[in-house]
Symmetry: C2
């Protein structure tokens, strides 16, 4: 029979078992963290009507979307989790209680040009809080506090959540009479780290036709930096001249205060006036998150406050605040950088039970006891040499083997072999079970990311 | 602005938060059970090259598959998790250790005619054990033992795993000289419960042109029923005449014995000679699982032993045994039948912290302490009347509220309100936390399915 070549499409992540277990651990950590903050899990279809997904329309999205027909239906694959959320909330408005807090961890699809580290199918891990008409500012501080907890529990230490406020920016630009150019200016500012301040100033003047003193105003404003106190202090002198600016300033002040109340240490957050999050969508606090040792990979977690989640579907004003972790890309980067801990349990089982007698009955009984204690247990029943059986455990990094032969059966014990040290001891099944369980509990506490190599 | 109607495609399940949490609990239970047996999680893409997915080809699949082009690529959405597994194992053969035990819980797509209870996007929850050339018979007993554990932990009691063996069937048909008609005969037998034995006999004779005595042979064989011992006994008299039959008989005997060793009680399994699992694919033990009170919904979990997982992709002989739970359909049926327990925690949080002072600081501190204890906590910060805040907790079935006002702050306590009983008491945050934690741990033990309404 002629064979079809088994292959996976480029831009689609498919992991071997050991890294997959690390990915699962990351996902599980996020799920647990999000739940701890009272977010409810949502699961929306991957396929939606194209009309629904493309309600907003727009260039890049339309080009990248996977769109196709089935029968008479014009269908598309979701390209983010925000549009399905907007649809869901508009559709179920009367059945939900607000604020509505949901998390969703799911695959989204974008037919981008395939290149290293870019994925066409990838996980996003989103949280959003949706209000009905209004939403308290405290939510804008809680969101980065949750991200702080997520990253900390994942084992990441050297990251910075960078916060800004769109009202502050809009107020400043309006004050300087540059509102129409705001988008272009922010776009130029965005390149500062790459091309330097002088070159940005040149762009502002030559390409955006700004007067020299206006360009200086922008450069001065954007030069406000330092720790949170210093930035807030630097902003003080713009106060009292523009209502929107003042509102943004007060919001930022509250967010900064509450972030402290939530226990986020200052080393993990900063006020960064250069963050705007391109989209027109955001109206208040905006976030980006940088891995301090890898600024080159850009923001690994972004979001912000918006005023109108579902305007394409409903007249109801649904303000919200949310953030999204690009999980597949984050995993890819961590893996590439060697930051995934080798201590993470990546074996399919905690113990391999090897029957040494013809009748596997006693081994099955032992396996049942181990499983009842919550220990992941595999019975190895294939007809192989003893050495091959232990080799199997070794190859899969299964940390323990339990051997059950005539002697053990007669003595009502098992032989417990620690595969790492090679030591072997006879124990009752209860004691073996207790020992393995304690060790695995200990090992499962190791965070999945380890920064100090 | 003209609005787009927010809608979900028919045949796509999208749940409200409370039922979604029950669905999550089912998924989590399966994940935990599968892991306990040493299966490693796999996550393959939802999109594959059409050529890869349709390697086997064949009528129904081709008709139902979601297939489309993107650029030059001919793509399709997976319609099951077995074909992607075959691809994965063939592709990564050299990097895997055998037996390779994997589970996968994921969405699959079939563009069936939409009708009540039929889904176009649905979850399958699969386990498979793949051998390299050979695979011990004990795996064929362990698979239903795992399903027994899954269903038991889900809270289902009245189910029956029905087991048969294809070699036994093939042997019998060969013995009776009816091998070519075997498929058609089994198809007729399949209808016995619906149309009665006489009508089946008529079909065998009139439509399949069998002699009367041959039809009687078939009817006699298929009439073998009763408990496991009785069926095995009834099969004895066919022994010694056909090699394949004898092999199947021995396999079935082993499976039945080991099922006992694995602790599956006889009330939850049966040998049922009428099960064949249509496909040519299976070569040994086959399974179907029936909910005793709802035989009309058919098998909720099926599978079996096969000899050649990945023949379309590789020359390597990869025998295996696996089973699949149609999770979305199972959930739908349980929900329709009112079998989902009301005791399952379906609130987004365990406790709602309500600040009664202007400064939310102390409430944030309390929430942080509760979250550190693993309690799912929401802070309610919206500007609403007190009654509306409690009403929010009530509507979402959040079982506890923690109220923090001036008095509580001064006394260094919190007011803990049990939302179900309405009672309220002042406690230290540690004691409140302990009390909530104990209660939630207790409640989370309630299985998601409750059969006695």
């Amino acid at each position: 029979m002629s064979k079809i070549e088994p292959r996976t499409l480029s831009g689609f992540m498919e992991l071997l078992p050991a890294p997959q277990l690390k990915m699962e651990k990351m996902t599980e950590t996020l799920r647990r963290c999000y739940s701890l903050y009272g977010f409810t899990p949502l699961d929306t279809p991957i396929i939606e009507a194209s009309e629904v997904l493309l309600a907003k329309g727009g260039g890049e999205t339309e080009k990248q979307i996977y769109r196709f027909s089935k029968g008479d239906s014009d269908l598309a694959l979701r390209f983010d989790l925000t549009v399905p959320l907007a649809k869901y909330v508009a559709q179920n408005y009367g059945k939900l209680s607000f604020p509505f807090r949901r998390y969703q961890i799911g695959k989204v699809y974008r037919g981008e040009r395939a290149q290293r580290g870019r994925f066409r199918e990838f996980y996003q891990a989103d949280i959003d809080v949706i209000g009905d008409g209004k939403l308290d500012i405290i939510n804008e501080a809680e969101i980065p506090a949750i991200i702080y907890r997520c990253f900390t529990e994942l084992g990441l230490k050297r990251f910075k959540i960078k916060v800004n406020n769109r009202k502050l920016l809009n107020g400043f630009f309006s004050l300087a009479g540059m509102s129409e150019k705001a988008q272009d200016i922010m776009h130029a500012i965005d390149k500062k780290d790459k091309i330097g301040a002088n070159e940005v100033r040149r762009i502002l003047m030559d390409e955006l036709h700004m007067f020299s003193h206006k360009a200086d105003d922008v450069m001065d404003f954007m030069a406000i930096s330092g720790n949170v106190e210093e930035v807030m202090c630097g902003l003080e002198r713009y106060k009292g001249m523009d209502e929107t600016f003042d509102l943004g300033f007060e919001e930022l002040k509250s967010v900064v205060k509450y972030l402290g109340d939530f226990g986020v240490p200052e080393e993990n957050f900063a006020v960064d006036l250069s963050i705007a999050r391109g989209l027109d969508y955001y109206t208040g606090t905006v976030y980006e998150t940088e891995m301090c040792d890898h600024p080159e990979i850009g923001s690994v977690c972004s979001g912000g406050r918006y005023d109108d989640l579902a305007g394409y579907y409903t007249d109801k004003k649904l303000p919200g605040v949310g953030i999204s972790i690009g999980l597949t890309r984050l995993f890819y980067v961590l893996n590439e950088q060697g930051l995934l801990s080798e201590e993470t349990v990546s074996s399919p089982a905690d113990v391999l039970v090897i029957p040494m007698t013809d009748d596997p009955g006693p081994s099955i009984a032992a396996a049942t006891a181990l499983r009842s204690a919550g220990i992941r247990t595999q019975i190895y029943c294939e007809q192989k040499k003893f050495k091959a059986k232990l080799g199997y455990a070794d190859k899969l990094s299964i940390p323990y083997a339990v051997l059950i032969g005539e002697d053990e059966i007669n003595e009502n014990v098992v032989a417990l072999k620690d595969m790492r040290s090679g030591t072997q001891q006879k124990l009752s099944i209860e004691d073996a079970s207790e020992l393995i369980k304690r060790d695995m509990e200990q090992r499962s506490k190791a965070p999945v990311i380890k920064e100090d190599k």
